[in-house]
Amino acid sequence: MSDTLLSDGSVAQGCHPTTEINAMVNGRKVKRTVPNHYRVIDFIREELKLTGNKEGCGAGECGTCSMFVDGKLIKSCLSPVQKINGCSVETIDDMDRDSGMSLLQQAFNKCGASQCGYCIPGMVMAATSTLRQNPVASRDQIKEGLGGNICRCTGYQKIIDAVELARDVQSGAKPHSALDEDSATVSFIGQRTRRLDSPAKVTGAIKYAADMFMPNMLHMQVLRSPHAHARIVHIDFEAARLIPGVECVLTCDDVPGVDNFGVFIEDQPTLARGVVRYVGEAVVAVAAETLDIARAAVAAIHVEYEQLPTLFDPHEAMKDGAVQIHDFAQNNICKHTRIRKGDVDAALAQADFVVEQTYNTQSIEHAYLEPEAGLAYLEADGCVTVQSPSQNITHHRHMLARILGRPINKVRMIMSTVGGGFGGKEDMIYQGMLALAAIKTRRPVRYVFTREESIKASAKRHPFNIRYTMGLQRDGRIVATKMVMVSDGGAYALSTPGVMNKSAILGPGPYAIPNVWVDSIGVYTNNTPSGAFRAFGAFQSEFATECHLDLCAQKLGMDPVALRRINLMRDGATTHTRQQLDRVLAVECLEAAIKAAGWEPGVPYRQGHSQPQRTDFNYEGSRDFYLIGGKTKPSVPLNVAAHHTQGDMS
């Protein structure tokens, strides 16, 4: 479709001039005609269907699209396709030269260097480039070589271990048998357990949703709200519908079933219904023959909005008279979880010390390396199937059945390989549109988010405001804890009720406290919805608790570890929600941690002041060790500390 010329010689809407590309790709001669705006990554993935290398950001930041062009490693999302004309390209798909796994891939497999696997193709390519340029690269040089590649799961250690292992096997310093997979042992505890999907991930063979193609597949694009809160007056999609290649245009009017869904509260429409409540909310979806046509169609849709008053601060949103974002939610309160144990006010009145402080945490994007993607299709028996990296497929399936007005046995969810989720793929935000488009067009439909779209439309970690009051005895025993937490849930509930519960239940921490008061309030605002994110709310409330204990230790003149040791729950303890515990290993856990950390007891504000400056690590921020050319010297003499005197420390 992309070379469709109209009779006057101009190009049809959504179509682009084409260009012929001649190149060697993975040792094979390739000659293809593609739209002239293609980047190298589009050519490799969409045209040649070599999906080993992924696209994570489209802006040169993440590195998973790294491939060799004439032996030089480049980021293929930053390169126009015309640049590979006459060149030789190597992608991850053929790094093994059809021999199973390259040495580096074997090392990645051996070290368990892949988790979600989405960054791994780029990591393997960058490691290959590093060892090709410098077969004796040091650990620091390996880190430099992988500097342009981001991994969100591993923390990099196993990846760097793997490159070191490959280097040593390559040089003969370690035997080839060092790459052999560990054999299964009787017990898994304390053992390195082999990942079953690791070979497929290190070779790029595993398919994520964006790597899937089906015959006759359509491409989806979505028009999103530019406003935080507005009434939809009119949607004009006639011009979009008439573009050749547009197969369907969907609005909320096309939803056949009950168009209200959500994990806890059913408040979400598949596509905005009458009102948009945050910037980035889906309003119209288009499925078309090509991505370019779908994009052109979205650009041709006109939506008339009437702006409504907006709320961006949860405290403002809770006030009487504030505009109500959802009809059913009085004072915009989405969820209020309360814990009441003992008499907090009386205990605070009698405490030797009362320490108060307010804590704020911010909204956080999960930034999994795989942007959301999905593929939906209709099977011969009328069953609609959606493949997507959903972290909650059973629930999604139930919600889909209601949205689509179909019996549950005519809806199937397949969880595609998840390229990182961290909770961010638990809440359903696009699978409904996909299923609907597949039903309407009777064709497979694929939707792949850009990084920008993913950040705009997906849920975030709840930002919390926590007012903390704690009463303690002189000896450090906590007599009462009061936490009032207000959290920005954003425009739709998503996982907010669950997050409020968890933050309340776990918030006061693993401490035996006789009097506890917790309010955890999730509030609707016109911000991007907040949802599930690792630790599900406990992260925020426990952050406040642990900060607060350090503050209390300071006020009491105590060692912060000692303060915790006094208060930790022990065998037979009752939790804040009155669960009777049998064995509690919190003290043992703490002792093991402080031993490993080399903790030096003392009041918080005196920590470290008695210690001389450390000189046993590289001078921070210096790259002089890797200086290329010229004389290389460490920039800092190792006897820096000798110049320090006690007087300087005061």
């Binding site: 040169g60 930053l78 920008e452 290329i628």
Partner: protein, 302 residues
């Protein structure tokens, strides 16, 4: 997304000028590493151009050579060449230390030296090092069939953020700078992280010491702390002819804090800039063979 009616790959300068003359609104492209991310949501959004002119295959715009006491490099020289080209390693090692901090391995293979100058980002990493090397840039235009060149100092070429002396229809041909094989060098940079970071502060220092251990040539240039990179000529004058001591370096460092003219993170930048001046002088002197003890310093930020 960046779209265009034509993508043209001229093989010669004349062909490139033909295109610029024929297609109004044609845009030059070399590495493309900034142009493609620029045409995305959040920055310029979807951009359509009548033509994109890829000048990376014009032989005249490449190449690295020495002309007496000056080094000449073509505008489309990739950043990676600053690290790996033997002549540059030997004659201008400061470019290698600077390139090491530039984006990452992959982008250094794609991005070009000329691109980093014509973009004129206040945080362009190569600018301070090139400024310290007394770089001149050569610009070419075509008038009535003749190609005319003009050479301007880099310090005058960059006018402000995204603004240069380059006129429409003009092409940056090459750079020429001093060959300084015997200078001690240092390049320092801080950003949000180590790779792929936009500079918050960067600095390039070159120093030569004479047989009496006196500084006989000093060049310091700073970037990312104002709209354009600049040379610290007052510090250069202060220390030239002087036998450097730790106290003299500390004094120089103290004087530069007020050079910060960027709009954000001013107090942080002031402290870092001051520390960088001292540390990069120390490093460059050590590189030139003069090790000075470091004065201890407490952070002003506590």
């Amino acid at each position: 997304m960046l779209t265009f009616d034509q993508y043209l790959t001229p093989q010669s300068l004349d062909e490139a000028f033909d295109v610029l003359q024929r297609v109004t609104g044609a845009r030059l492209l070399a590495g493309a590493t900034d142009l493609l991310p620029w045409a995305r949501e959040g920055r310029a959004g979807d951009v359509h151009l009548p033509a994109v002119v890829d000048i990376s295959r014009i032989a005249l715009l490449g190449g690295v050579s020495q002309e007496g006491a000056r080094i000449r490099i073509g505008a489309t020289t990739p950043i990676s060449a600053l690290q790996h080209h033997p002549l540059l390693q030997q004659q201008a090692p400061v470019l290698g230390s600077c390139a090491l901090w530039f984006a990452d391995d992959q982008i250094r293979e794609q991005a070009t030296v000329g691109g980093n100058l014509v973009n004129a980002s206040p945080a362009g990493d190569t600018q301070p090092a090139l400024l310290a090397l007394n770089t001149h840039v050569t610009l070419a235009r075509r008038e009535s069939g003749r190609i005319l060149e003009r050479s301007v100092p880099l310090s005058e070429f960059i006018l402000g953020p995204s603004r240069t002396l380059l006129q429409p229809g003009e092409i940056l041909l090459r750079l020429e700078f001093d060959a300084l094989p015997h200078h001690g060098v240092s390049f320092e940079k801080v950003g949000h992280r180590r790779s792929l970071a936009i500079s918050t502060v960067c600095i390039a220092t070159l120093v030569r010491i004479d047989t009496h251990k006196r500084i006989d040539d000093l060049r310091i240039a700073i970037g990312a702390v104002g709209p354009v990179p600049e040379r610290l000529t007052d510090i250069e004058d202060l220390l030239t002819g002087v036998k450097p001591t730790p106290t003299a370096l500390r004094e120089a460092a103290r004087r530069v804090a007020d050079r910060v003219r960027s709009r954000s993170r001013q107090s942080y930048r002031r402290e870092v800039l001051s520390n960088f001046v001292e540390r990069s002088l120390n490093t460059a002197l050590a590189h030139a063979g003069l090790d000075l003890p470091h004065l201890p310093k407490e952070s002003e930020y506590v």
